[in-house]
Symmetry: C2
Subunit: 544 residues, 2 copies
């Protein structure tokens, strides 16, 4: 028997409509590249998103059509989020930091018909013009004019303000099935081609509700939130949806994400909360220390994207009264999975106890089912020590990749393999130990390459370190330590291996060390272990 | 084009499963009728709900079957919420304060096959035994024994602990369509028979997400919430779902809702938040004043169900540091519709300004669309002055009543007529002015009967007052004031009508006054204006 409740679809257009109607007092501030700011209200953003939507429809954009963005965080990008998804088309945010061939691959894979591009990314588009000319028809420059460019020979090129000008600011947003695709993001994997994740209206609205829960990021109408995380990074972690849902004010930082710019914007606009990756907060901390500046009202920070050293969180809280929450998610997860918020069991911890616990990526948010399994698919002990691969499922987690129906990341029984190796404790707090492909499988047991690397970089003579598994006749794999020495230092094999004594179990200690000149990285700065594994595949480990 | 997200249904069983898995440290405290307490954890509640579910299945309870409760707030009632809904049956909570014939009507209308009854409500069931014998098969006494009763002649009677004993505490909760019916509540209308509202799993989970948003009730894992609102009052306003979703501890007060008991429980269990109707808070305030007791840590309160006098909120905050939030909802709305939380526009109000604004029932929660319309269906000005009937729609709002497909409360274009007459301001804050059926329609304009009654009871000689519209040849309706005088007082017509001078527009002043001995009320204490309208239908108003 069905309930007798209204069949009201969860649609993204309702979020902005709600904010425009009931949260007229909130502000949407955009920092321009020159440092000046421009202010809008939700009714204004709604009117401009409607103009965009009407313009897209008038140009024949159809439901399901992919429309791409290459842009920083500003009010126009926010309008694109709503104007495109609102009419049932797909807002495809592209990461402009990717290598140009990846950008070209992504545009072609998604079959984007329109590119909405910040002026500063036009050279990037020019560089891939040949590759994408068969797919893209129109390039819209996110400005009120079009700069000189050769793109006009291959594409229709128009500025954003002219593009939306003919559209009416009145709209009756269409209603359709909430499972309709709304947004598309590509993973920037370290191996293989990027893969697209296609979010639905339903998944996006549910994820926004979850994000607004008091124990998650909990945005309120009285808050002013600055997403340092780019809108091309997994839907800006959901903030462009959470904020209008709660009537929260937004401060869009544009391209200037250095510590000084962020600090100034924060103070100027009375920001209460920010979200971003570790690099940003390290830059901000450096700026605060060098400038001697302090926050008038310390904002709350959320950090995700990669693990942040505990020392940074300690410095922020103890020196500046700024509390940072560690969160974890993935492109395939919309992205929110876990957040390190206190629980009744640890509510009375001292500041030091709490800060020591910062390194955990947190506990699951309702809507995300977790399981941590060993090689045989059996759940490991929830004791904070045993580790295994993390599998997740839930209504805002991908079921497959765009155009790739049979990816092995998705299990037959409905779980997504995150590729992260974690521990999980009795309270549900997880801690990422390694990536599944990097973990070293020695005699049926797992060794964390990351933990061994962290120990190595603690050695005074080590600049950078990587640990990889190499084949071993008896143990299957054994760890090999690769080290870049600090300038002028010449650490020895015995010195480096001796450094592990007492820090890990004996069988975790690497079998050998190679001093190298440099280590290879991806475009986003991650170690390229696949390449190292190839290079050292034939490395002969010394007999024990 | 559909998104590529997992098709994971929103099911109520996932909420308790989540709490049992990740929130083992939270407590569920039940106050027994004798004042002692019993503690459980979410894993224990989950295990007992599983035993109940398995017992129900073993007895042949089918999906969609209605299973009723007549019970106060305790851990067993919480188990019933999950054990019944979890297997796809419908948890039908009955208000034991209704008149017995209404209880009998409701049981028959719902076709409840099982009644789960607190021992103290067995006399009520005995009183309606004849009427319900054809429908109900089994009566389960919510205790570990069955007291003496004649019910055994007509029904299978068993105690709850024996009932669940054979069931396993392990369960794989079934998965089914999220639109499946989960819970049933009847309205206690002032006119006509009670009408059933049938909630779905989807509506219930969405409503719980919304309730947990930081700007709504915002429960957190570190909170301890005491629902004074009974679990038979619109699903306990969603708290039985919101709390486990957030890992929040619950304190279940049982039948003792007097100020002293609530205060003691609050202090003993370090309660951080409570929710209930105005009467409860008035009782608590009276107790605090008489006893001289104060809260060690003042809890946050939410008030709903009917309008609470601002003076009570002022007293709580100024005398006891207790902040009360006004909320509004209806049985047909799951119930959350609006809540009076601050916004950016009024974040800097002084305490006095904020308290003066307490009387507003608040602003809409995302998921609830509002519109306020006049007699012709046109939206009134959002100026905080014009008033009209409030219409709502959204995914947790009823589409029709159980077994009554064509009720005029539901419009053809998908809105639910709340029957409340409200003002709404630019910021979306509403204030209830009257019930639509009680508002007096004079010359095409509306007059609030409630406002005229509130003014009348401010007169020193008036004990209670009612204002109704009576037919008028020229103005259609004009207000008639009915007054119960205070003992020993004999207010005159001129005195009472003169009292309105300067307090309302001249054309709002009642045309006549009748002094009566008493006024008729419903079981829940509301004025029975339908009866008054019948009684005074032929009242001749004096010529102006």
């Amino acid at each position: 028997m069905d309930g007798l409740m209204q069949e009201r679809e969860l649609l993204i257009s309702d979020i902005l409509g709600f904010a425009a109607r009931y949260h007229r007092g909130a502000k949407i501030v955009t920092a321009r590249p020159d440092g000046s700011t421009v202010h809008h209200t939700y009714p204004q953003i709604h009117a401009r998103a409607a103009k965009l939507a009407n313009a897209l429809k008038a140009r024949g954009v159809k439901p399901g059509e992919r429309i791409a963005t290459l842009a920083w965080n500003d009010h126009r990008h926010l309008e694109l989020y709503y104007g495109i998804s609102g009419i049932g088309a797909v807002c495809h945010t592209i990461n402009p930091r990717l290598f140009p061939p990846q950008v070209a691959f992504i545009v072609k894979d998604a079959e984007d018909t329109h590119l909405f591009v910040d002026p500063m990314f036009l050279p990037l588009v020019e560089g891939v013009a040949d590759a994408i000319a068969g797919v893209v028809k129109t390039i819209v420059v996110l400005d009120d004019k079009v700069p000189d460019s050769k793109l006009g020979n291959r594409f229709e090129v128009v500025d954003y303000e002219s593009f939306i000008a003919p559209g009416s600011e009145r709209i009756e947003w269409p209603r359709f099935d909430e499972k309709t695709a709304a947004a598309l993001c590509y993973t920037s994997g370290t191996t293989g081609d990027p893969k697209g994740v296609l979010y639905s209206h339903r998944s996006t609205v549910l994820h926004a509700y979850a994000g607004n829960m008091a124990d998650v990021t909990g945005h309120r109408s009285v808050d002013v939130v600055l997403p340092v995380v780019p809108l091309f990074h997994v839907c800006g972690w959901g903030i462009p949806y959470q904020a209008p849902m709660a009537g929260t004010s937004l401060v869009m930082p544009g391209p200037r994400l250095d510590g000084a710019s962020i600090y100034r914007l924060c103070e100027q606009e009375s920001v209460t909360g920010m979200a971003g990756v570790p690099t940003v907060w390290m830059g901000l901390l450096k700026y605060l220390r060098e400038s001697g500046n302090r926050f008038t009202n310390p904002p709350r920070l959320v950090v995700g994207g990669s693990a942040m050293p505990t020392a940074i969180a300690v410095a922020f809280e103890k020196e500046y009264g700024v509390v940072i929450r560690h969160a974890w998610g993935m492109t395939e997860m919309s992205p929110l999975g876990t957040i390190n918020m206190p629980k009744v069991e640890n509510a009375n911890w001292t500041t030091d106890e709490r800060l020591a616990h910062f390194k955990s990526q947190g506990r699951p948010i309702f809507g995300v089912d977790l399981k941590v399994v060993d090689d045989h698919g059996n759940e490991v002990a929830n004791d904070g020590k045993a580790f295994g691969e993390l599998l997740v499922r839930g209504p805002w987690i991908a079921s497959s990749y765009f155009g790739r129906p049979n990816d092995p990341n998705f299990t037959a029984d409905g779980w997504f393999r995150t590729g992260d190796v974690v521990t999980i404790d009795q309270s549900g707090y997880i801690e990422i130990v390694d990536r599944a492909k990097d973990v070293i499988k020695s005699g049926g047991e797992w060794i964390s390459s990351i933990e061994l690397e962290n120990i190595a970089v603690g050695h005074p003579a080590v600049q950078e370190a990587a640990v990889i598994g190499v084949n071993h006749p008896k143990w299957d794999e054994r760890p090999l330590l690769l080290v870049v020495a600090k300038e002028g230092e010449t650490p020895t094999r015995d010195e480096l291996l001796g450094w592990y004594q007492g820090k890990v179990a004996k069988w975790w200690v690497p079998d050998d060390v190679v001093i190298v000149d440099s280590l290879p990285h991806t475009a986003t700065g991650k170690l390229l272990k696949t390449e190292l594994k190839k290079r050292f595949a034939d490395h002969i480990l010394p007999a024990a």
